[in-house]
Point group: C2
Chain length 180, copies 2
């Protein structure tokens, strides 16, 4: 890996920003890489759409925003409609099959997974949906080792919620690996 | 206000990133402005220093990083040593008097407040320190109306912690206003 640009997108309340922060912290603290992570809020934020950018690299990173992501995660239809055109050719597009109907062909590997439905069936707590998405992201891209992510999750969540979060992460990882 | 560049700095666990996100959300959702908010992690993050940049503007913002902040908040000595040289001439420097001994003159209004000690004396919970810092920031800069911040805090914290957080915010606001 030289440099990977990731965009997480969805709506406020889905934990998009937290997921992005955990991913960046995992890369830096537990995988020895550099990372920048940013949110740009404007009209879209007022309308409910949230986007968070992460760049992970072995080298220094000077510009923190992402223009064309290698990896794009879309958790709402609105986010998909807005951002799927910017994916980098040959990239990976991860969408949740409950929230997003993919309607166009993009020059990318498209991975549609029932992340939200699986979390609700197996755990019943929508709050860990974002951690399941992180699992699916790691399972479908091999961006970082799963263990690095689990440690970064443990740093961020209260101790008595760690088991729930680990379960959500593993669910996402399995969904993605079964789909490969 | 045309454009304000803010850097929050401290150590992991002081809630620097959360404070930055709340400030950006307050600006966008409750004050109708644009904002970007970013973290750049590297060697400093591995050593424990955390920095988060926020730009708030009435206009579009194209570059999300901050080179010279108008407003610099330093919550550890390490952060102060590292970042006080980059403050924009004429800016505002806010430090916590327990954690930081200011050792040099910078071309800025220096505000040293006992935020941590006051939180511990009046509330006894270090977890709301970052919200007290936000109160002090608003009290010493008038960046946004206090009400906009309180609403953004309410969006982010669990309901049963809102009173605690509001109290911490008001403490910081008073500390700063008494100091003007």
């Amino acid at each position: 890996m030289k440099r990977v640009r990731i965009v997480f997108s969805g709506s406020g309340g889905q934990g998009v920003i937290t997921a992005a922060i955990i991913l960046a912290e995992a890369a830096v603290i537990y995988a020895g890489k550099n990372a920048v992570q940013s949110q740009s809020y404007g009209a879209a934020a007022r309308g409910g759409a949230t986007r968070s950018d992460i760049i992970i690299s072995n080298n220094d990173i000077h510009f923190p925003g992402v223009i064309q992501p290698n990896v794009l995660v879309c958790l709402t239809q609105e986010a998909y409609n807005l951002y799927s055109p910017i994916i980098r050719p040959g990239g990976t597009l991860l969408t949740d099959s409950r929230y997003v109907k993919t309607t166009r062909n993009v020059d990318a590997r498209q991975t549609e997974l029932p992340m939200y439905d699986t979390v609700m069936e197996q755990i019943g707590k929508p709050i860990v949906f974002n951690i399941c998405v992180l699992g699916a992201l790691i399972g479908s891209t091999e961006l970082l080792r799963p263990g690095a992510l689990i440690k970064a999750v443990a740093d961020r969540v209260p101790k008595n919620f760690l088991e729930l979060n680990t379960k959500a992460f593993d669910l996402g990882l399995s969904l993605a690996q079964d789909n490969l």
